[in-house]
Symmetry: C2
Subunit: 108 residues, 2 copies
């Protein structure tokens, strides 16, 4: 097992989820996902920023330029109502599919 990656299709779900606790800027989102997963999940910048762009287009988040604690210009992302709805839907879908996969893997 070379390295632990992301299960494709879960990136946006994870981002929506960490934003549920409050707005964060891009770099902090990646940090948080890494931290919460004991660094098993590593979100690359080249994956994250395009995903955030898509989420902006879809209206799931909105962005504002602010100053970070370290005095840098950061773009802060905040969940919208549509984003919360999307999160609920993706959460439910992930759970269902994951249960289904487990029941195949167990060969009940």
């Amino acid at each position: 097992m070379p390295k632990a990656e992301l299960v494709p299709g879960t990136l946006i779900l994870l981002v929506l989820r960490v934003l549920q606790s409050g707005p964060l800027h891009g770099y902090a989102i990646a940090q948080r996902i890494g931290q919460l997963s004991s660094d098993i999940l590593q979100v690359e910048e080249g994956s994250l920023y395009p995903a955030l762009q898509k989420m902006l287009l879809k209206g799931w988040v909105k962005a504002e330029w602010e100053l970070s604690e370290t005095k840098r210009r950061v773009r802060s992302y905040r969940l919208t109502a549509a984003g919360r709805k999307q999160l609920e839907a993706e959460l439910a879908n992930y759970d269902q599919v994951n249960r289904a996969i487990k029941s195949v893997l167990k060969l009940a």
Copy 2:
């Protein structure tokens, strides 16, 4: 939620797993995965056969032409030792990543 799909990256794992119980032909593999998942997981033919080709190339399975119970020519796939090893590795990896995703989703 339009339809329940496959979590990308799990198809080969699922196929390896159902073959662990014994050889099956392509059509039966798809049936079995559907059945075990209460039809939540639906493996399309255009996904399955290319995946089986890849598995043949990798040496994870070998194939033999046989006659099915319904008297049709079927190609029966059987796990190899390399396939069993691959299954173990993918199983462990899936478990680890899935745990990691869950700990992010729970926001422990």
